[in-house]
């Protein structure tokens, strides 16, 4: 009984994500399941447009949690990612409270006594009231837990990675003036990376490492089916087969899942019933994003369509 449970739970994850329109492979579902069980962040790597960000959205929707997104870029720092003091509010309050100061210190005879009296009020200006929580801190403060998406971590600086280490391993952050803030409920953390640069070992060690590549043909057909319901079965098979043929070419940017979905939508809009040379040639710019790639693929269109259609017959 105990041994059948995990398989069932992984299938539950798969169907849960599928209900949100995200068709996950077994490996992705296993990663999501494990990250919940052993409370580890998932680091998702893979080419652009294979659904790394989508995964986080689907998890949030499936589990009915809020999603907090932190988009990384070069120069992102603590003040924008973690927290900032509300300086303007602090200044305003000091101005307003100036008059009150006399009343508070009214009884004091000497400077030392005045200071003592001030101390009893504590650090009013460096308290929770004046902290502006940024995405990371917000994620820790969600009472019901949340999905924290740290998008394109490879675009940030190496120093920012170090900043993340504490939050990733212990789900807490330390603010010098306030102390350590721990997560109310541990958030589900998803980090995505396009492998623009190699991430540090320390960061990788704290995460489950999931690589999402281009999906297999069957899986991609299911993905297209769930995202573009209006498309006929034959056309779907043909276009996915065609895209798989295109991916075997040596191109600058291979078409990924998002492009496949876009193309399916375009084909439905144009009311195509099946692929032919003309329509592929006209819509190739949806799939391929470089002029050189389109030039390289154009001579192959007819043979690819033929191959894709043949596959459709047999499977």
């Amino acid at each position: 009984m105990a041994d059948t449970r995990p398989t069932a739970s992984i299938e539950a994850v798969e169907s849960g994500l599928a209900a949100q329109g995200y068709i996950a492979s077994r490996q992705i579902a296993t990663a999501v399941y494990l990250s919940q069980q052993i409370e580890k962040p998932i680091l998702v790597e893979g080419p652009a447009g294979v659904g790394k960000t989508e995964l986080a959205k689907a998890i949030a929707a499936w589990r009915g949690m809020k999603m907090i997104r932190l988009q990384c870029y070069e120069g992102l720092d603590e003040a924008k990612a973690l927290y900032e003091w509300k300086y303007a509010k602090q200044l305003l309050y000091t101005q307003i409270l100036k008059d009150k100061l006399g009343e508070v210190l009214g009884g004091a005879q000497s400077l030392a006594a005045a200071l003592d009296q001030l101390h009893t009020f504590g650090d009013v200006f460096f308290s929770k009231e004046f902290v502006e929580p940024r995405p990371l801190l917000q994620a820790l403060e969600q009472p019901a837990g949340c999905v924290l998406l740290i998008d394109e971590i490879d675009k940030s600086d190496a120093e920012f990675e170090s900043l993340l280490l504490e939050i990733l391993s212990d789900f807490q952050v330390t603010i010098p003036e306030l102390g350590t803030v721990s997560a109310v409920a541990p958030p589900t953390v998803i980090l995505t990376s396009n492998s623009e640069r190699d991430l540090g070992d320390a960061l990788k060690r704290r995460c489950l490492h999931l690589h999402i590549g281009f999906p297999e043909q069957k899986l991609e057909e299911r993905i297209v089916e769930s995202r573009v319901p209006g498309i006929s079965q034959t056309l779907r098979k043909q276009m996915v087969g065609f895209i798989h043929e295109i991916r075997s070419l040596d191109l600058k940017k291979l078409p990924s899942v998002s492009e496949a979905i876009d193309w399916a939508r375009v084909l439905v809009l144009l009311q195509a019933s099946e692929l032919d040379h003309e329509i592929v040639k006209d819509t190739l710019n949806v799939l391929l994003k470089y002029e050189a790639d389109i030039e390289a693929a154009t001579p192959q269109i007819s043979s690819f369509i033929a191959k894709a259609s043949r596959q459709g017959v047999f499977s």
Binding site: I10, L34, D198, D201, R205, L208
Partner: protein, 458 residues
């Protein structure tokens, strides 16, 4: 099972996957969640928790398949033996029956190993081999030269001595039984050999690779054998990766003197805009600009080949490389290298300029006439060659001008320092105009040279 997990972690390390203790703990926690029943899920679990790059995932996947398929080949093997036996017995049934009877009768007289072999209890034999492997600490195997000793150890631990005695004893008393035992022993030897080979594959791969790489690193590039060229290319790629990791960090440096007004204001808002803390504008570091002139004549050609491969694999670190190849005259080869695989590129280069006798003077003149403008004050010029100009005019004056225009002029010479200046070597004359002159005959020296060049830009 925990023992097995530990053995798997060791095998994973052997396959080149860096498994830290923390990661192995994570993996164990994860495995405790998913259980062992579904092998695919188990595989995914290991791939998720242990492997942190795609290369590692591939290596670990192979390692997993090898490791968990381990008991099966032995069984197949035993089965093979058995079917062999059967087919033999099919041809000659009476002898087999006779042998069986004799075996049954003699069972009390032979040792436990002989009995096990006679009974053809496959699972018992597999278990015995596994136990003996444990006793002989088979997971410690590192080099292929250790195969013999581990086989002997395992067979000893299984009690082969007793089996030999039995065979000797039975030869006189019951030749048929002795023959059967001898055959079984040969089969057992084969099985153990397979087990050891597999263990070597599992646990020793990285060690063997390290040893081979260590030897390769220090071998003279000009004289390596053709069969090692592929390995050397792999090694050069590895070096390139290491250099990339080390030097492709963000290139930013504080530039004191230019105030970043926006950041300063924001940083000092807490003090009502009084600038207690200053923020300075930052400046991106220069990426190295390299112009490489490579001699591709005769003995230097191979070194140039590897050097060009290395320089052109450093995209993240060095984005502006222009390469030139020369022997009698000089041509630009950057495009050839960018658009072809290393082998094809080298072939094309050699067909265009290779195999002539080198003429440094003429080649430098070619460079000055056509490409002098490629050199800017940020450029490092690298000349790779033995400076043997066949007693032609060395044109050191051009080299001087190149040196003056560039940031640094580095000369890499594959010959040993001892012979510089002897015969037709013009090295001492050229050396006066170079920033650095170094010997560069092995992969290790090549790595250091390139590493130093890139480091001057950090």
């Amino acid at each position: 099972m925990r023992e097995n997990l530990h053995r798997f972690f060791r095998a994973a390390r052997g396959a080149g996957v860096r498994v830290s203790p923390a990661e192995s703990i994570d993996a164990m926690r994860a495995v405790a969640q998913v259980g062992f029943n579904d092998r695919d899920i188990l595989r995914d679990t290991f791939l998720l928790t242990l492997a942190k790059t795609q290369d590692e995932k591939r290596a670990l996947g192979e390692c997993f398949d090898l490791f968990f398929s381990q008991p099966e080949p032995q069984q197949e093997n035993a089965e093979q033996n058995k079917t062999d036996d059967n087919s033999e017995s099919g041809a000659n049934p009476s002898a087999d029956e006779h042998g069986d009877n004799a075996g049954g009768a003699a069972n009390e007289n032979v040792g436990p190993l002989a009995q096990m072999l006679l009974s053809q209890d496959r699972s018992a034999i597999s278990t015995a081999i596994a136990n003996a492997s444990g006793a002989a600490s088979l997971p410690d195997i590192r080099y292929f030269t250790q195969r013999g000793i581990f086989q002997t150890r395992i067979l000893d631990a299984m009690g082969i001595q007793r089996l030999r005695d039995d065979i000797d004893e039975q030869t006189t008393r019951n030749p048929a039984l002795a023959e059967r035992l001898q055959e079984a022993l040969n089969g057992l030897r084969g099985t153990v050999r397979d087990a050891v080979s597999q263990a070597l594959l599992l646990y020793g791969r990285e060690e063997a690779e390290n040893l081979r790489n260590e030897i390769l690193r220090n071998a003279p590039l000009a004289r390596i054998e053709p069969r090692q060229v592929e390995q050397m290319r792999a090694l050069i790629r590895q070096i390139a990766r290491r250099l990339r990791e080390r030097y492709s960090k963000p290139r930013k440096r504080q530039r004191r003197g230019h105030l970043d007004v926006r950041r300063t204001l924001r940083r000092n808002a807490a003090w009502g805009g009084v600038p207690f803390l200053t923020a300075w504008k930052r400046k991106h570091r220069d990426r190295p600009k390299i112009v490489a002139l490579c001699d591709v004549s005769g003995s230097v050609a191979r070194v140039s080949d590897f050097f060009l491969l290395l320089i052109h694999s450093l995209h993240e670190v060095v984005d502006d490389v222009r390469s030139f190849a020369f022997s009698g005259h000089l041509i630009e080869v950057s495009d050839i290298l960018e658009s072809n695989s290393p082998e094809e590129a080298m072939k094309e280069i050699m067909s265009k300029v290779g195999f002539g006798s080198s003429d440094y003077g003429n080649s430098f003149a070619d460079f000055e006439d056509n490409w002098m403008s490629a050199i800017t004050p940020q450029t490092t010029v690298i000349v790779l060659g033995d400076a043997r100009s066949n007693n032609l005019d060395p044109r050191a004056d051009i080299l001087r001008r190149i040196g003056e225009r560039s940031k640094r002029l580095v000369w890499l010479n594959p010959e040993g320092r001892m012979v510089w200046g002897f015969g037709d070597s013009e090295m001492p004359r050229y050396a006066t105009f170079c920033t650095v002159v170094r010997q560069c005959a092995t992969a290790q020296q090549l790595e250091r040279a390139v590493s130093d060049i890139v480091a001057t830009y950090q």
